[in-house]
Amino acid sequence: MRVAVLQFPGSNCDQDALWSLRDDMGVQAEYVWHEGDSLAGFDAVFVPGGFTYGDYLRCGAIAARSPIMAEVKRFAADGRLVIGVCNGFQTLTESGLLPGALVRNEEQKFVCTTIQLAAVNKTSAWTSQVNKVLNIPIAHGEGRYICDDDTLKSMQDHDQIAFLYVDPHGEPKESANPNGSVANIAGILNAQGNVLGMMPHPERATKQILGEIDGQLILSAFQRVLA
């Protein structure tokens, strides 16, 4: 099985993602340029972080309308694994694959730190191995997840909340929320559970020498589903 790591002009976590998958997760991964219109030969997609198209218009807006994303939508509809991290999450909401939107952090500041995450959904491929509070890095200026009340209720009813920002004891305290996201939401799933968008960077947390390895619990989805 092979994971397509998408590359857009301005992607900057593409190499982190590729090497995390190859080196640390033992998963085959290749870059796929945004102008491509085929994901033939791939089994899953990683939409990496960055500042695609300079964040012009809105974060992820232009990337979401590039040729490869039509193929990603078909892929997602087939139930295959798709993950979008940071700018990749913004790209997935802009493309309509995930509900809601990501806007500027409440306090206006770019936040770059390590936060704690807890999984709410326990059954998806992405969250089923997450049995503890995770330490995962974040680095974003526009990561405040918002949606209307009906969408939030629907996501809760369909178990689509993947991750919350929590304190070290696993409590979603307001003080643990780094960006003002509604209900401390750090990551969400589509209704089928195969598409995950999250602001924190699991691909930066798969190698001990880099500080954290908790990202492995999320990215191991590729190993299990594709094995």
Partner: protein, 77 residues
Amino acid sequence: MVTVRVLVSLKPSLLDSAGRTVTNSLKGLHFDEVHNARIGKTITLTMESYDEDRVKAMCEKLLANPVIEDYTIEVLP
């Protein structure tokens, strides 16, 4: 040629944190009559011809994100 101006702004229900910062700064300069500043963006289209439905489609498909933004269309004289 026709010039069309699209104004895109965050929905009123959303906190416009950049606008809030500007509001505070205006107050700091003693423009106390300002209650609220909200920041949007202007997209000026120079077009061969104007068709309202097509410009609306541009707004819905790309220029605005209907989840978070409202837009208005003005055809300039």
